[in-house]
């Protein structure tokens, strides 16, 4: 159980480390900042980037919706798996009698430009997160979180689709912390790495980045699989926001203000 530090409620900094643990302790007026400005700005830039990367990425995929393992793969080699969609190129054997229009020009331009925006945003967030203590305070599971009892009870509450308590409006529980850490420090680095490992010029300077993945086509396949993992995260993330109070969670991530007042869904 954490101590409640009332003095923090009037500061502009994120104070989720001092989360109250019962509804009685939650102030009735909402003057505090649940998410710092940097978290909010980088969150929404990342959201826009993710949508742009997903749309352009899927558009690129349909020019060859087949995936391989190893160095090479083409219409004459055995795919690892195929996506059952029509292709934007005539030669690809998809089973469909028609081809979709070619839009790889703008898709590739948009994909790579957005990747730059995402990397710059991500670096800003990473550097700030380390120096502000954001990762340590808000995302690293705290000592008490890591007890077996706490973990099982949190999982249990999720399994029963229980609405989160007031404390959850102020701090992340152990499942959230683990998931966010996984997304920030495993999935995002992986998607950038596997993306760069597909670049013939980049790997000419850093061949190990593609060799350790098992080849250029393996990198492409992994890039696609990590995308699926990120889309699954996004789906669960949005569902959880809706379950726990769409309005208040959106308000917290837009204005920074959290309201723990009883909100009806």
């Amino acid at each position: 159980m954490r101590n409640l530090c009332t003095s923090c409620y009037h500061s502009g900094v994120s104070d989720s480390a001092y989360a109250p643990t019962s509804a009685a302790a939650v102030p009735t007026t909402t003057v505090t900042s649940r998410h710092s400005a940097l978290v909010r700005i980088t969150h929404w830039i990342t959201t826009l980037c993710f949508v742009a990367l997903l749309v352009s990425g899927l558009e690129i995929v349909i020019s060859h919706p087949r995936f391989y393992w190893g160095e090479v793969g083409n219409d004459l080699t055995q795919p690892l798996f195929k996506i059952p969609v029509p292709a934007s190129r005539r030669l690809v054997p998809t089973g469909y009698s028609y081809t979709l229009p070619d839009a790889n020009g703008w898709s590739r331009y948009l994909h790579f430009q957005t990747a730059w925006f995402l990397i710059i945003t991500g670096l800003l967030y990473l550097i700030w997160g380390v120096f502000s203590g954001h990762f340590r305070r808000n995302l690293l599971p705290q000592g008490a979180d890591l007890s077996w009892r706490e973990i099982t009870s949190t999982i249990g509450r999720h399994m029963r689709f229980q609405r989160p308590g007031a404390a959850d409006a102020w701090s992340y529980n152990v499942l959230q912390r683990t998931t966010y850490l996984l997304v920030i420090f495993v999935l995002f680095p992986l998607i950038i790495w596997t993306g760069l490992a597909m670049s013939p010029a980049f790997v000419s300077a850093f061949p190990a980045t593609v060799n350790v993945l098992g080849g250029q086509q393996s990198a492409r396949t992994l890039h696609f699989l990590v995308t699926i993992a990120l889309v699954l995260f996004l789906a669960v993330h949005v569902v959880m926001v809706c379950i726990s109070g769409f309005k208040s969670r959106m308000r917290a991530m837009i204005t920074g203000r959290a309201s723990a007042n009883k909100e009806r869904i």
Binding site: A37, E71, V72, Y109
Partner: protein
């Protein structure tokens, strides 16, 4: 507004101003060192410039990965090509004996070379991957003469910044900067996997550069123009694919 958040806002403003000023200076320096691609205008110009500049800085001299003979794709996949014209078929019937590669622009000795002449130049080979922007790839052994040798023979002038190269197919041309033009793996290719380069793969002549996507490896190569300015060619974007909406630089 509390003091703390005001201080924070001032700090953020200062950082933002410094970043914008820094970007302006960076743009000037980039222009000076040839790190700005010809298709730097428009909606995606910033991303293109960042990609080209950073890859050029990282990869000026790096070599594309080469593979072992056992990794050569059998058979190599040949992408769709336009139907051949009568003129092409006539040249093909004559075993391309009349095919010529013209070299002009900023060169001391403009001229043209037959296939036999090109084959008399030092022959090099590489086992590299051809990667298509669509997502597929194959590995082949490519035989040819390094473009740098052809440029030496023609006497490319030191002011040259780009080499534009043209296909027998109408409206098909690309260009590369001198870092790629003089790169040891950039070939004027006439052989593949121990044989003449098949027409399906761009025979009799194909420009081959393994550090960029397949569409920069133009098939049916007919001439090269050495230049210091791409603005007067096509729509000024540096290549037919850039005019068509694809990036001029295709290292990614």
């Amino acid at each position: 507004m509390s003091d703390l958040s005001r201080r924070k806002m001032i700090k953020t403003g200062l950082v933002a101003t410094a970043s914008v000023a820094g970007l302006g200076a960076a743009a000037k320096i980039a222009e000076m060192y040839g790190l700005v691609p010809p298709d730097h205008g428009g909606l995606y110009g910033l991303g293109e410039t960042l990609t080209y500049a950073s890859q050029r800085l990282l990869t000026r001299h790096s070599l594309a990965r080469e593979f072992s003979r056992s990794q050569i794709s059998k058979p190599p996949f040949a992408n769709e090509v336009e139907p051949f014209t009568d003129e092409f078929k006539r040249l093909q019937a004559g075993k391309f004996a009349e095919w010529r590669l013209a070299v002009n622009g900023m060169v001391a000795r403009p001229g043209s070379y037959s296939l036999d002449q090109l084959k008399s130049f030092p022959s090099h080979s590489q086992i590299t991957m051809l990667q298509c922007e669509e997502g597929w790839s194959y590995i082949a052994e490519w035989v040819g003469v390094p473009l740098s040798h052809v440029l030496d023979v023609a006497g490319a002038l030191p002011q040259a910044k780009y080499v534009a190269y043209y296909s027998f197919e109408p409206d098909t041309w690309e260009s590369i900067d001198m870092a790629d033009a003089l790169h040891p793996q950039t070939f004027v290719t006439y052989g593949m996997n121990g044989d003449d380069l098949p027409v399906g793969h761009g025979g009799p002549l194909r420009l081959r550069l393994p550090r960029q996507m397949g569409y920069k490896s133009v098939k049916y190569l007919t001439h090269l123009t050495v230049t210091d300015n791409l603005k007067n060619i096509g729509k000024g974007n540096g290549s037919a694919s850039a005019d068509f909406g694809y990036a001029w630089y295709a290292g990614i």
